[in-house]
């Protein structure tokens, strides 16, 4: 903190020596290309020695105008853009977007489709938290964690590729369903992944949880109080790390989450260590959910069959029936026909509550679509929480907030 330096010689003070010796604040710009800003975040900081007195995050370097683009294309055409929001968990974004539009259409998808979506969203959560954990470890000097988590993500990517055809940008959901059913034997491979993942996760977390160096860097660092976390609209593990048990999967269940048993981990102090512990526990709970889904995987349709003018008919029908061919043509060119109205839907994504606010005037194109991105809201607390912390702790804090700039800037 800035302290006044007392000069015994008042004459020297009068001569302007005060300016020479008074603590001068340094302004420092970190990013947009900096390894610990995880993408293109820039922090304009003011430092008093090692301590921050001001921090102004500058975002928008990855702004692509997704909301403007959404107003200019049909609902299904926007699905690939949702991959590129939180690109560490595209399957979870796909699901949140599809449910938002289906809510607007008043459409209920079958149980099998819901189960597939929850299953993929939980796999995406594991994949996103693994990356967050690895990058966080890297930020505080624990290299091995990243290697372990990338190894596990590779297993997940193979499963994603088999299911969706793509490792990274999955674009899996359609309005009213998903792009394809689960392949033969895939669920067994998901369980095989879980079987080897559980011990591997414990091994990875054991590298950090009781690690003295890691604890020294994270315990008591970057404390976000419960009141601050709520006032700044934090969601996800960052809010739960501060002691607020808010999990939309439990509190406002969607897509059949109410059928599954899982616990919501909550922190006590709201420091970087608590946020780390929450993410670790969430991965264990995700595995628990995945096992429950696979154990009672519903049979039946994997898309809403009654959703005419919304979900494209199956290929064999298109090729044999004139009416279905016309229907398919209309869905592809004009877009799924969604009634007028407005809807706001939030899903519990790995980073927090991802919200879609859609205003429709009817037809296949939204009038306005607002994406409420959790990373954007989580970063808005930085000017508050950074003040008074050490420069080196900013790196820890950024790692523990686990943001994705693709989602923040949209």
């Amino acid at each position: 903190m800035a302290t006044e330096i007392a000069f015994p010689d008042s004459a020297a003070k009068a001569a302007g020596a005060e300016q020479e010796f008074a603590p001068e604040k340094m302004s420092l710009s970190m990013g947009p290309s900096h390894p610990s800003t995880h993408g293109v975040l820039r922090l304009q900081m003011e430092l008093d020695g090692e301590v921050l007195t001001k921090c102004d995050p500058i975002v928008g370097y990855l702004h692509r105008g997704d909301e403007k683009i959404a107003e200019n294309m049909t609902y299904n055409q926007f699905v690939p853009y949702t991959d590129r929001l939180d690109y560490l968990a595209p399957l979870a974004n796909n699901m949140a977007y599809a449910i938002a539009v289906e809510k607007l259409a008043g459409l209920e998808v079958p149980a099998r489709c819901q189960a597939i979506r929850v299953l993929t969203a939980e796999m995406a959560r594991i994949s996103a938290h693994l990356m967050g954990l690895g990058a966080f470890g890297l930020d505080v000097g624990a290299w091995t964690v990243l290697v372990h988590s990338l190894n596990q993500r590779e297993h997940l990517y193979k499963l994603f590729e088999e299911l969706t055809g793509a490792r990274f940008t999955t674009s899996y959901t359609r309005i009213g369903g998903v792009s394809r059913d689960v392949p033969e034997g895939w669920l067994g491979r998901v369980i095989a992944f879980c079987d080897q993942f559980e011990p591997a996760l414990e091994e990875t977390l054991a590298l950090l949880t009781r690690n003295k160096i890691f604890q020294d860097r994270t315990v008591g660092v970057g404390i976000i109080t419960k009141a601050d976390a709520l006032a700044y609209g934090l969601t996800g593990p960052n809010l739960r790390g501060s002691g607020v048990a808010l999990d939309l999967r439990k509190d406002r269940p969607y897509s059949g989450y109410e059928q599954y048993e899982f616990d919501v981990p909550v922190g006590t102090k709201g420091d970087c260590y608590d946020r780390y512990l929450c993410r670790g526990e969430e991965m264990r709970q995700s595995v628990r959910i995945i096992r429950q889904i696979v154990a009672k995987f519903p049979s039946g349709d994997w898309y809403a069959k009654d959703a005419r003018k919304i979900f494209a008919p199956p290929k064999d029908k298109i090729l044999t029936s004139m009416e279905e061919l016309i229907n398919n043509f209309m869905i592809v060119t004009e877009g799924p026909q969604i009634p007028a109205g407005e809807v706001y839907f939030e899903a519990e994504n790995p980073k927090g509550a991802l919200g879609f606010y859609i205003v429709s005037k009817g037809g296949g194109v939204p009038w306005r679509m607002k994406i409420r991105s959790p990373s954007f809201c989580n970063l808005s607390i930085l000017p508050k929480v950074c003040v008074g912390t050490m420069m080196s702790d900013v790196v820890t804090l950024l790692g523990s907030l686990d943001f994705v700039m693709g989602e923040c800037d949209r």
């Binding site: 975002v59 928008g60 702004h63 105008g65 909301e67 403007k68 683009i69 107003e71 200019n72 294309m73 049909t74 809510k103 607007l104 008043g106 709520l230 006032a231 700044y232 609209g233 607020v244 808010l246 509190d251 406002r252 060119t333 109205g341 407005e342 809807v343 706001y344 839907f345 939030e346 509550a353 919200g355 606010y357 205003v359 194109v365 009038w367 306005r368 607002k370 409420r372 954007f376 809201c377 970063l379 808005s380 508050k384 800037d409 949209r410």
Partner: protein, 209 residues
């Protein structure tokens, strides 16, 4: 759900100007701008809507009244209810205005900056109303309906670089995307029926905003 219905009934009793708003999910109300801050404060303190999920705006296109609507989404971490509060902006198209709620929720700070950046809505009383996604000094508000999808030619943010390189921010060169054939002599609306952006094309001049 009933918690939010009760909260809004109480709100309507307290503020007679508040009216119901059509919604397909959570209960919603329209609040006049004069009552907005008081109504949101009452929802926060009396009805327990402690989390401000989102602040955004809608542009209803040129000529519509109101032209802009500000929309607030509130969530209660105790009753797990959600409400939507909307308020038509006052002022003319060039400078629509709505009171800021940063004093109630610091979370509104960045959301309001974003709405200002994208729509040009002045949030009166905001402590630091700067652009957030576009750069300082950018001349347009891109989410307004009159702003074309392809963009408008603009100077680079760094004037020194701009002078040195003579480079500019240019409209999207590949209309329709890299995998769509050029529309050639046809105008965009004919060549690409699904391109809903009709505010300017090869035959009509770009709007001088």
């Amino acid at each position: 759900m009933s918690a939010s219905v009760d909260a809004l009934s109480a709100l309507k009793a307290k503020f007679p100007q508040v009216t119901d708003r059509a919604s397909r999910d959570c209960p919603a109300v329209d609040v006049p701008t004069v009552d907005l801050v008081a109504a949101l404060k009452s929802l926060r303190d009396e009805a327990g809507f402690d989390l401000l999920s989102d602040v955004t705006a809608i542009d209803w296109a040129e000529g519509a009244t109101p032209r802009f609507t500000a929309v607030y989404h509130l969530y209660s971490t105790t009753s797990h209810a959600a409400v939507r509060v909307a308020s038509a902006c006052t002022g003319d198209d060039a400078a629509p205005a709505v009171p800021s709620v940063v004093d109630l929720w610091p979370a509104a700070n960045w959301h309001e900056r974003e709405a200002y950046d994208m729509f040009g809505i002045k949030f009166e009383g905001h402590p630091d109303l700067r652009r957030i996604l576009m750069w300082d000094g950018y001349p347009y508000h891109p989410l307004r309906k009159e702003f074309p999808l392809a963009g408008i030619e603009t100077a680079l943010p760094d004037l020194e670089v701009a002078e040195e390189t003579q480079a500019k921010v240019i409209p999207a060169p590949m209309v329709g995307g890299p995998f769509v054939a050029s529309s050639g002599e046809m105008n965009l609306t004919e060549a690409e029926p699904r391109a809903k952006d009709e505010s300017w094309n090869e035959r009509s001049a770009k709007p001088q905003a």
